[in-house]
Structure formats: structure tokens, C-alpha cells
């Protein structure tokens, strides 16, 4: 999570997720992060954590322009979470 949010907002310092965050949302967040690893593997042959900073942004940029709305939506959601947890 730190890597993804850090790629979206440079200098992002992680705060723990609030205790009140519903469990199904936490689960959805972790599943969505796993999806990013999968997409990184497919597109760059490495998991997200092994990519360079520029490549991480490139993977996310590509998702923001993807024809499937769920990919665009995921990046928007991560961006919102990164910004509200700064």
C-alpha cells in the first residue's frame, strides 16, 4: 500500500487505516492492490514493488486510460485514499 500510495502522491507517509474502516472495504483494498501486482507482472514482468519509480507511475497512468472503467476507477479510489490518509 505504501508503494502504491507513494507512487501516486510523492512523499506520502503512511498512516494506519482507521479502525472504523469496514472490514469488507479493507479486504477490497488489499484485493485491489493484488490486482496491481498482477497487472505489473503482465505488463513489465515484475511485481509492482520491483519496478522503478517511473515504471510504477507508468503502470498507474496506463490504468487511468484503460478502456475498462473498473481499472480507471481503481486508480481514482487509490488516489482518493492516498490523499485522505496523508
Amino acid at each position: 500500500m505504501d508503494l502504491i500510495f507513494g507512487a501516486i502522491v510523492p512523499g506520502w507517509k503512511g498512516k494506519p487505516l482507521p479502525r472504523a474502516l469496514p472490514r469488507h472495504v479493507v479486504l477490497a483494498l488489499h484485493l485491489s492492490l493484488a490486482v496491481l501486482d498482477l497487472l505489473s507482472l503482465l505488463r513489465h514482468g515484475r511485481t509492482f514493488s520491483l519496478l522503478t519509480a517511473d515504471a510504477r507511475v507508468a503502470v498507474l497512468q496506463r490504468m487511468t486510460r484503460h478502456r475498462w472503467a473498473w481499472q480507471r476507477h481503481l486508480v481514482r479510489w487509490w488516489k482518493l485514499l492516498a490523499l485522505v490518509t496523508r
Binding site: 482507521p18 472504523a20 474502516l21 486510460r65 486508480v75 481514482r76 485522505v84
Partner: protein, 477 residues
């Protein structure tokens, strides 16, 4: 005082069991208890704690699924609902707009029985009564803020200050996280305490899972507290469902009813972000200070949105270093939004973790939304914005000229073209003359699920007026 959860199983008996403590549930509780009826209110969320953090913490405490709920379909629209004592009245902007008479006439034209169910005069009287109860007033000039003033200048003759139930507003621009100054007469601060004074009992953290039926008669509800303990509430006169047009149909489906959940509607919304020459966050400003409502063949609602910095920042385009450089100018960034009275209908279905909302906007809805965003972008540029960031697929990331702004209306209106969200929901349940679910005695719907179409304006006032009428009829029954 609200009973916050339970450490043992609880059984309750009352004239009316109300499911949900938002705009409609709280209104029903207020008027029914004042009429001498015994009332039990069951709310899934916790008592609203406001002013403790703006970001994800506030979203987690006050919004359903921390604001992450989505529709199923190509649009992937975010569904924002309050989930706390007071429901969406705690996190709404406090706008109280009366139902347009043209919309009421449309209901009557569809089905003449609406003229008896909800007579126009009764609706207006109920609205005026609730406006007085909640101290509704026009947003004063000193709370427009720079953003609102710019909106007013850019749309002369069309923009007007909103009417809101915020008598104690200090312009913190934090309506959407629950007013930290308790300046909004949200249900948890107005209607529910009044209901408690008349003897209503309000239980928080209690999720109703099923309606208890005997044949075709509703006898009560069964719920479960967060602690796992059971709540069994029996109703002598009626069970009143007031949980929203998403959860009311879902609860009916959970309870074995069929033919509900169809004809669901909403107001899809999108926002534009503008970068202004001068700072636009220099003084107090209400969250939703200014609006422009267009009714007629196409109903469009334009609004200013004063958001907390972190929320507004999510509307800034770019990722990584590009985003970081833009975030340095947050004082110059304003967010304006548009919603349309969409004609598309969706449905509520049972999902593994709760209701699933199947919904997809029609092409004509998306065309209308794009046109309204083009108008909004042009207005932003005329109001002094250097750049407008539309966030629409197929549009330039940055719009700097009126020509480019007008071209936004010409983009291919594919589904999912922009980030949509909705806060206003309607329909899904057919009711009889006494607002009972068709075919079930003693099972009353008092929320926007019973409305045949969307309202075209913020529905809070209409929901409260309808709930007042429902309560009055059942109190007299």
C-alpha cells in the same frame, strides 16, 4: 438518549417500529411520538461523532462502506450514503429545496392516484412545517466564499444561493463530514432528540435483517447488534421502512417479497476542477453555497462544492510528480459540480454482502451531463479560472479556452466517461393508498423508495415532507 448497541438480546414492543434514522425515519419518529404513539427506531450505524478528523476517518465513521460503494455496470458510479444516527442528514450539505410542481404533475400524469396519496397542498404544507422546524434559510452573502461569488458572477440570472438547514453555519466548508460546529439541524441534533423527549426509543448499531411476517401482515423486525446480540421489535400498528431506496428494497427482498427493487433512479453527478488566478479559499464558505437549477425538457442542477482539501485534491489530475506540483496550488483550486435528472432506471438485487445496485446511465443522460459540464467549464473560465480540469475520458486534461470548454459537449458519451457519483436515490417499491407495500398489511414505506421518479432537486426536503404526511396519516389511523 440513543442506546448505543447492546450486550444482551433485546425485545421491544411499540406501536411503530421504524427502520432507519435518517431524513424519513427521524421525521416519522418525531411526528408519531409527538402524536402519542410509542415508537422504536433502529439504526444500523453508530451515533455520529463529528469534528474528529476529516479524511478517511470521517468517511469510515459516517459513510456506508466508507464511501466506496459502487453500482454494478459500465458506469461504476459511487454511491454516497450516510451510515450513522441521523443518516445522510449528517453528511449532506443541508440543502432543502422544495419539490418542483412540474415533477409532481408528472407523477399524477403517470398515475392519477398520486393526487390523493400526496396532494400538492399537503406536500407544500408539510414542507413549510419542516422548514420551520429545521430553521431553513437562504445562504447569507458572507458564507458564499470566493468560489460561490465567482459562480454567482459567472452565471448571472441563473445562479442563486441555496436554501439550507444550517442556522449555526460558520462556513467551515465541512458539511460533508458532519458539521464540526453542530451548526446543521441534522436529524441527530433536531428531530431525533425531539422524538426521544416524546418517549421514542432509538437503538444504534442495530442492523435489521428481516421483517417478521404472519401471512401477509408485517408484525415486526429482527435485527442484530454489532455485538452479535439479537433485537426483536414487534409493531402493534406498523413497521415503517425508512432506510433509503437501496436498503428498503433489499430488506423486502431479504424478507421474501418479490417484485420490488425495479425502477430505481438517481441523480448522477460529476464535478469539474478549476485553477484560479487568485486564492479561492480565503474566508468562511458553506459547502454548497450556490446553485443553478434548470427545469424543463432537461433538468440540470449546477452547484459549487466547498470540499476539504484532501477530498478536493483527489479531483486534481495527474499522478506522481505531476500531481505533486499541482497540489502546491490547492488554495487556487475550486470544485463545481453538475447533476442531471437521469431517465435511466436500475434495479436493486440481493448480493452476497448486501444490496447490489445495477444501474447504467442512458446515452441521452450522458449527453445531457456532458452539455452541463461544458456550460460549467465555460462559466469557470469566465469566472477567472486559468485552467479547468474536466477529468472526462476523451477530453484534454487541461482546458484553457472557451472553445475547448464548449467542445466538451461533443465528446463521445461512452459509459464510464467520467467519475460519477450519486447521493440522491429514488423508487424501487410500489405502495398502496396508505403507503403500505402492495399486498402486505402493516408494512409502510416512508422514504424515497416510494417516489415514482427522481425529483430533479436535492430530495431531502421532499423526503421529509412525504414522511410527515405518512406519519400524520398513520397517527390518525
Amino acid at each position: 438518549m440513543t442506546i448505543d448497541g447492546a450486550l444482551r438480546d433485546i425485545e421491544e414492543d411499540a406501536d411503530f417500529v421504524i427502520v432507519g434514522s435518517g431524513a424519513s425515519g427521524a421525521t416519522c419518529a418525531r411526528w408519531l411520538s409527538a402524536a402519542g404513539c410509542s415508537v422504536v427506531v433502529l439504526e444500523e450505524g453508530a451515533p455520529a461523532k463529528v469534528g474528529k478528523g476529516d479524511g478517511l476517518d470521517a468517511m469510515s465513521r459516517l459513510y456506508r462502506s466508507a464511501g466506496a460503494a459502487m453500482t454494478v455496470g459500465k458506469d461504476r458510479m459511487a454511491l454516497l450514503q450516510g451510515r450513522c444516527v441521523g443518516g445522510s442528514t449528517v453528511v449532506a450539505g443541508g440543502i432543502q429545496s422544495g419539490l418542483p410542481e412540474a415533477v409532481w404533475r408528472e407523477w399524477v400524469a403517470r398515475d392519477a392516484r398520486w393526487a390523493q396519496r400526496l396532494p400538492w397542498e399537503a406536500l407544500e404544507m408539510a414542507r413549510e412545517r419542516m422548514d420551520a422546524e429545521l430553521s431553513v434559510h437562504k445562504t447569507p452573502r458572507e458564507l458564499w466564499g470566493e468560489t460561490g461569488a465567482a459562480f454567482f458572477r459567472a452565471l448571472p440570472g441563473q445562479a442563486s444561493p441555496t436554501w439550507r438547514n444550517t442556522p449555526g453555519c460558520q462556513g467551515s466548508g465541512r458539511c460533508l463530514q458532519g458539521c464540526p460546529h453542530r451548526g446543521k439541524t441534522s436529524a441527530d441534533l433536531s428531530l431525533l432528540p425531539q422524538a426521544e423527549q416524546y418517549g421514542a426509543r432509538i437503538y444504534a448499531r442495530c442492523k435489521v435483517e428481516r421483517i417478521l411476517m404472519e401471512g401477509h401482515v408485517a408484525k415486526g423486525v429482527r435485527g442484530r447488534f454489532e455485538s452479535g446480540k439479537l433485537m426483536t421489535a414487534r409493531a402493534r400498528k406498523a413497521v415503517i421502512l425508512a432506510t433509503s431506496p437501496i436498503h428498503t428494497p433489499w430488506l423486502l427482498l431479504q424478507s421474501g417479497l418479490r417484485n420490488v427493487g425495479q425502477g430505481w433512479r438517481c441523480h448522477p453527478r460529476a464535478v469539474l476542477t478549476g485553477l484560479f488566478h487568485k486564492p479561492v479559499h480565503t474566508g468562511p464558505a458553506a459547502s454548497l453555497a450556490m446553485e443553478s437549477v434548470v427545469h424543463g425538457a432537461a433538468d440540470v442542477h449546477l452547484q459549487t462544492l466547498e470540499l476539504p482539501r484532501s477530498w478536493a485534491a483527489s479531483r486534481v489530475p495527474g499522478l506522481g510528480p505531476a500531481l505533486a506540483s499541482r497540489l502546491e496550488q490547492m488554495d487556487h483550486i475550486a470544485v463545481w459540480g453538475s447533476s442531471v435528472r437521469a431517465e435511466a432506471t436500475g434495479s436493486i438485487r440481493r448480493g452476497p454482502w448486501g444490496p447490489r445496485v445495477h444501474y447504467e446511465t442512458l446515452r441521452k443522460d450522458r449527453v445531457l451531463l456532458l452539455k452541463s459540464l461544458a456550460v460549467l467549464a465555460e462559466a469557470m473560465l469566465q469566472a477567472g479560472a486559468m485552467e479547468v480540469w474536466p477529468g472526462i475520458d476523451g477530453a484534454p486534461e487541461v482546458v484553457t479556452s472557451v472553445k475547448q470548454a464548449r467542445e466538451l459537449a461533443l465528446i463521445d458519451p461512452a459509459p464510464g466517461l467520467t467519475q460519477l457519483f450519486a447521493t440522491d436515490f429514488f423508487g424501487g417499491v410500489a405502495v398502496d393508498e396508505r403507503f403500505q407495500v402492495e399486498g402486505v398489511s402493516g408494512l409502510v414505506v416512508a422514504d424515497a423508495s416510494l417516489l415514482p421518479t427522481s425529483t430533479g432537486v436535492s430530495p431531502m426536503s421532499t423526503i421529509m415532507a412525504v414522511a410527515t404526511i405518512v406519519a400524520e396519516r398513520w397517527a390518525a389511523a
